[in-house]
């Protein structure tokens, strides 16, 4: 079904002085009909490039040079693009592959390309949307969906076309547990009808979905081995892919003493103009120095809630008090002295010419006296000093996430709100992030972290579960998390 023999790929240099980058070296493997291979590798190891080459997109549309042989369902994809419907490719950034006006047309587009008779398109679209739990959202524009919903929609568009080979770049990253289960069931159905699957991941648990696994490191792929062998994770840790919870530093939950309120939300309700209510009468007080994990399914209102902390959103009703002061009438730029916010996809919001300028932006804007020292320290902490003079846009995903964190570290505010900070991070990136969080916490910083990772939520002082814009559970992790195993609050 999928035969790769001695595949190598190189990119031309991105900036003056960089040598030609060899992304894939002599890769050989195959996937049988109905089979599945999990490719594990750290950020920047070439996982996405591999998927793009197999899909016939790279180097055809991106440049670069490929040698070797890639046979997909009998066709040589390096020579000519695979016919429509043979290959389905899920991009790492699923939102980037959605281009229609609404959800149902997004799914129908591929069926139209396949030439499916008009009368059958409607039923097939609905089947795909129901399969991925999106039927109720079918008239919404794709860009108005949450990140997890966008990924499920991208998968639904592929599933509807029933491809012979599926290439999935981190298919479960950023999905809630219910979504992960839906996706796995849908994939199993496709495999039973003979589709071969290649998926990339950072997680041993996701790799377990495939019977075979292989490690990709610095462009070299290990010979495939049974994925069950990944159980003790030692190879993944060594390769910088995994960073399992038993290695994590201690967050010091036992020593936490609640201080005066850092954040108070009083009877807060919010809706976007002309849309349904997104948050209902939220009452919440977070004391200074507390580490709060905010959990809940995709679209529950988690991001909407923390966007109120620094005034990016203003309550339709109710108030927000930050460090004892009402935020009403104060600008976002002013609140930035007290709270910093990690956006969900910060790598898309870079605006500075160099990594150093990006990190220095906050301290310069706020005219902090020791700006230079702060920037130097933040760059060093996230191992970015060697990249300081490069534009952030050309760095690898992991390094870009590090830039986003360094930009917050340089501000060093008493409150930190992070929206899904671990998504897509490999072991090294996670270690960097968690060590920084532990240090912030020791310094008395209030942490509010939106996450789907139960292991991270378990380290918090307090877990708040949100569903459909309401707080449905609030308490110590050992009390809340046992009830969140499946679906409703995961």
């Amino acid at each position: 079904m999928l035969d790769v023999h001695s595949l190598s790929f190189t990119y031309p240099p991105l900036y003056a002085g960089e040598s030609i980058t060899s992304v894939l070296r002599e890769i050989t493997f195959s996937v049988a009909p109905g089979g599945a291979l999990a490719v594990l590798g750290p950020n920047g190891s070439g996982k996405s490039t591999l998927c793009h080459v197999l899909a016939g997109l790279t180097p055809r549309y991106t440049g670069g040079g490929a040698t070797g042989r890639v046979t997909v369902a009998g066709g040589d994809v390096l020579a000519s693009p695979p016919p429509v419907g043979v290959v389905g490719a899920l991009f790492q950034d699923a939102a980037a592959q959605l281009f229609n006006h609404n959800v149902e047309h997004e799914v129908a587009w591929g069926l139209e390309a396949l030439g499916v008779p008009t009368a059958q398109i409607g039923p097939q679209v609905m089947a795909a949307l129901e399969r991925f739990g999106l039927a109720a959202l079918r008239h919404r524009p794709p860009w108005a969906l949450s990140g997890g919903q966008q990924k499920r929609l991208a998968l639904a568009t592929l599933w509807a076309m029933q491809p012979r080979v599926l290439l999935l770049d981190e298919p479960l990253g950023g999905l809630d547990l219910a979504g992960q289960q839906e996706v796995q069931e849908a994939l199993t159905g496709l495999r039973q009808s003979g589709t071969g699957v290649l998926l990339t991941t950072l997680e041993a648990s996701t790799a377990g979905y495939a019977s075979q696994a292989a490690l990709l490191n610095a462009g070299k792929l290990s010979p495939p081995f049974p994925s069950a062998a990944l159980a003790n994770q030692s190879e993944l840790i060594e390769a910088g892919i995994a960073y399992p919870p038993y290695l994590w530093p201690d967050f010091g939950a036992a020593q936490f003493q609640p201080g005066p309120p850092a954040l108070e939300l009083v009877d807060l309700s919010f809706h976007y103009p002309g849309e349904q209510v997104a948050l209902h009468n939220i009452d919440l007080t977070i004391p200074r120095g507390q580490f709060v994990a905010l959990i809940g399914p995709n679209g529950a209102g988690k991001s909407t809630l923390i966007r109120h902390f620094n005034g990016l959103l203003r309550p339709t009703q109710g108030r927000v008090r930050l460090l004892g002061q009402d935020t009403a009438g104060r600008r976002v730029g002013e609140l930035a002295r007290s709270v910093s916010y990690l956006f969900q996809r910060p790598e898309q919001q870079f605006f500075a010419a160099t990594v150093r300028d990006e990190v220095a932006y906050g301290p310069t804007q706020l005219r902090l006296p020791d700006a230079r020292a702060r920037v130097a320290a933040a760059l060093a902490r996230f191992a970015l000093t060697p990249y300081a003079a490069l534009p952030p846009a050309i760095l690898s995903y992991g390094a870009q996430r590090a830039v986003a964190l360094a930009a917050l570290a340089a501000l060093d505010t008493p409150v930190l709100a992070l929206d899904e900070p671990t998504v897509g991070l490999d072991g090294r990136g996670r270690a960097q992030l968690l060590e920084w969080l532990v240090a912030r916490r020791a310094a008395g910083v209030t942490l509010v972290v939106v996450t789907h990772e139960m292991a991270l939520a378990a380290r918090a002082d307090r877990v708040i579960a949100l569903d459909a814009g309401r707080i449905i559970a609030d308490g110590a992790p050992e009390v809340i998390l046992p009830h969140c195993g499946r679906g409703e609050a995961a």
Binding site: H52, A55, G56, L57, R60, Y61, P83, V84, G85, V87, G88, F91, D93, A96, Q97, F99, N100, H101, H105, A108, G110, L111, E112, A113, L114, G115, P117, T118, G122, V125, W143, A144, M161, Y272, P273, G274, E275, L312, R331, V332, G333, E334, A336, R337, S340, Y341, F343, P346, Q348, Q349, F350, F351, A352, A353, Y361, G362, Q365, A393, A407, L411
Partner: protein, 252 residues
């Protein structure tokens, strides 16, 4: 996350259901009529009829008010300037070279009403027709499919690029950007945003190329269309009525 730049108001009125090709013909007929009419009272009748169509299509009054507000300045300028530049007929007021005449006033009112009619006719089309079906109509009327895709994607990515702009502004605000009183420094603050948006737009278009190719755009296989346009009895009736109106208007 609401970046709605599409004027379409979803609904189920007869005007919403009317085939977009007939609506396009309606725009043509309406525009010809507005240009053909030379009588102030008939122009008023036309504008009145268009307002009736707004009500009949059950469009919110808010939309009509917005349109009037947007057109107000233009209408005011026409009413003020036209009589000055086209002094014809009886002189009502003379102030040096500036003369206010009956003919000038009449002409100004006529052009103002014409501008209003054209704007409202076009608004009727855009308010009651979803962009994809409008593009579909153009393709069915002979526009090449790839051009249609181009138009659709442009319309689709205008909000995406605006969202990018908002996201970068938010990132800056969240890290301490505050509006500066000085307009020059303020304008300079927008420069990095502009650069970021241009880079982001290039990235979007690269990704779009890949997304389209990955789903089989450009494949030789003939495409089918899910909701293709089909002329029903009411559409033919609409087409006939509009054509009749055009004939009557021209024969006057």
């Amino acid at each position: 996350m609401s970046y709605e730049l599409d004027p379409y108001v979803p609904g189920d009125s007869w005007l919403h259901r009317l085939d977009p090709r007939v609506k396009l013909w309606g725009v043509v007929v309406g525009c010809f009529t507005a240009f053909w009419l030379r009588d102030l009272w008939w122009m008023l009748v036309l504008l009145g009829l268009i307002h009736l169509l707004f009500a009949w299509a059950r469009l919110p009054w808010r939309k009509l008010r917005e349109l009037w507000q947007q057109m107000a300045l233009l209408v005011l300028l026409i009413l003020l300037l036209q009589p000055l530049f086209r002094p014809e007929g009886e002189v009502l007021l003379a102030w040096g070279a500036v003369r206010l005449t009956t003919g000038g006033l009449y002409g100004g009112a006529l052009i103002a009403l014409r501008a209003l009619s054209l704007a409202f006719i076009l608004a009727l089309l855009l308010l009651t027709t979803a962009q994809p079906s409008l593009v579909r109509a153009l393709v069915r009327l002979g526009l090449p499919y790839t051009w249609g895709v181009g138009i659709s994607l442009t319309l689709r990515f205008v909000p995406a690029i605006y969202a990018l702009f908002v996201a970068v502004r938010e990132a800056q605000a969240a890290r301490g950007w505050q509006p500066d009183g000085h307009p020059l420094r303020r304008a300079r603050g927008y420069l990095p945003v502009l650069v970021a948006v241009i880079i982001g737009t290039l990235r979007l278009s690269d990704q779009l190329t890949l997304a389209l190719a990955a789903r089989g755009f450009g494949d030789a296989r003939p495409r089918t269309v899910w909701h293709d346009l089909r002329m029903r009895g009411s559409d033919w009736l609409g087409l006939a009525l509009l054509s009749l109106i055009l004939t009557v208007v021209f024969s006057r």
